[in-house]
Symmetry: C2
Subunit: 307 residues, 2 copies
């Protein structure tokens, strides 16, 4: 799957992933009102509003970017109907030709990680049938439990042509509390990065990159630089651009000299662009066009930084 | 919620939680066949079989134990219908008077952790309505992202009388890869334990224990001993008993001198007891009775160890 991602990044000339993290406050009133009108003030209404909103965003940006990253927490908060909207979002994005990175940050002991891997990237067997439950293309995974929690994901990646991104250095302000602590004189995130690189050695694609990628936040560019050197064949998913403070110039060191090796996520900065300068003129009805304009601006920002 | 848990442990005299982790191979053929007969070879059939199986277990053990711990991965692997079965399991256990620990191991950056906390322990607002999406009583949480990922859960715990158990030292073989690494001369899990204790200081119950608990595996009794000393007011959820190798005598040091402070989980050892010695005589039809017998044996094993 990493080869498909690389090919789509090259085709779109956009190392960009749009984060589909639809909080209700980002959704135009007309969509929310219609959903509540049809479903009442229910979880189903929230789920319907999310899905409608997502389709508008996806329709507006699908030709510009290689991938989307739905954050499952934003769906799970609306219960079973929300999870159903997550699945429908995955399917809709696939129909539009997009690669889907499920931002699920799962991770558990062996057999349980196996179940999560089957859920999001693999298949389950029921009687004589084989079914892919959520069927994302990539998933994000938490490393705290070590190899036992990671290997079941890697097995599924190899069997089903899928990939993962393992949390190494997250974008949030307190990520250093544990991740930056020194272990044998080196920060823990570097130790995790080294392991990610080792785990990934069993599944390189033709592109030279591994199906096992890493997450490292745009908000910590110097650490990204160190990780880039440490894991040359590891693709880095970089959150934290835009709303969290990361800028194009911060991103240069996450890329390899071939201009590849990283994909930058923006969520709020794109899907809620219609609520913010300089996109206010698009209005609520034009939220999709505002998202498109924000993607184009982000693309230019990154290209200028890389040039 | 920690006070309710303590009270129920005292009432049942069983510091035991039954892990509802229903893999299909644990489910008697008659249940699975009936579900497939009614639903075809579908995710819905797996979900129906899980729910039927769970009800049989819960009916058989509800008077013996204070709590159950459904592992959401085992439901998520059956897609949206599986997640629906998870929610129905939570509701059924509540109806039977059990405390529900959602083993979800979520954790993310601030706003996203807030969404997970709302999903599992809190409420969401849709129009003028407030709805509790999954409504477990406790959830397990991953600490890798630091305070930003934990505080939104603590806020929800305080607002809604709920609790969490944060992963400190997990029960799996490779848990030491990162958790045992030395940070300032102390293993990382101790550092996490210290933080858990600090996080928990804002929400002690009348029992003297905090709404913020810890997870530490029965498979590492010496480490449990160290953590017990380090976090005297932290309740410890202890997985790894039974199938993973932990035994009653390993558990003593997870408890405080008051005989409280820990709750021991067994999953396979109870729900799949009917497939194993010495419970084979119960047969597939008697899987609930086998589970009940296994709980009684576990209770005795722990009581003997504590006495």
């Amino acid at each position: 799957m990493i080869d498909q991602l690389v090919a789509k990044i090259q085709k779109t000339e956009a190392p960009i992933v749009v984060g589909l993290d639809p909080q209700l406050k980002f959704i135009p009133q007309q969509i929310l009102k219609k959903a509540i009108g049809e479903q009442g003030e229910t979880l189903e209404a929230a789920a319907q509003a999310i899905l409608t909103f997502n389709k508008g965003i996806v329709d507006a940006v699908a030709d510009l970017v290689p991938a989307v990253k739905p954050q499952i927490a934003m769906y799970e908060q609306f219960g079973v109907p929300g999870v159903k909207a997550f699945k429908k979002t995955v399917d809709y994005c696939h129909k539009k030709g997009l690669i889907v990175i499920g931002d699920v940050k799962r991770g558990d002991i062996g057999s349980t990680s196996g179940a999560y891997a089957a859920a999001h990237l693999g298949t389950v067997r029921i009687g004589s049938k084989t079914i892919a439950p959520f069927d994302e293309d990539f998933a994000t995974v938490n490393p705290y439990l070590g190899s036992d929690g990671i290997n079941p994901f890697i097995d599924v990646c190899r069997d089903h042509n899928k990939g993962i991104f393992i949390l190494v250095k997250t974008s949030n302000p307190s990520s250093g509390e544990f991740q930056d602590r020194l272990v044998d004189g080196k920060p823990l995130y570097e130790e995790v990065g080294r392991r990610v690189s080792q785990w990934g050695a069993v599944c390189y694609g033709d592109s030279g990159y591994s199906e096992v990628g890493a997450v490292a936040g745009a908000t910590y560019p110097e650490m990204g630089k160190a990780l880039r050197r440490l894991m040359p064949k590891t693709f880095i998913l970089v959150p934290g651009y835009g709303a969290q403070g990361g800028r194009g110039k911060d991103l240069v060191h996450f890329f390899n000299d071939d201009g590849l090796g990283a994909i930058i996520n923006s969520s709020r900065g794109i899907i809620a662009a219609w609520q913010k300068d300089p996109y206010l003129d698009f209005g609520a009805e034009g939220y999709g066009d505002a998202a498109r304009a924000a993607v184009l601006d982000m693309k230019q920002d990154i290209r200028e930084a890389l040039d």
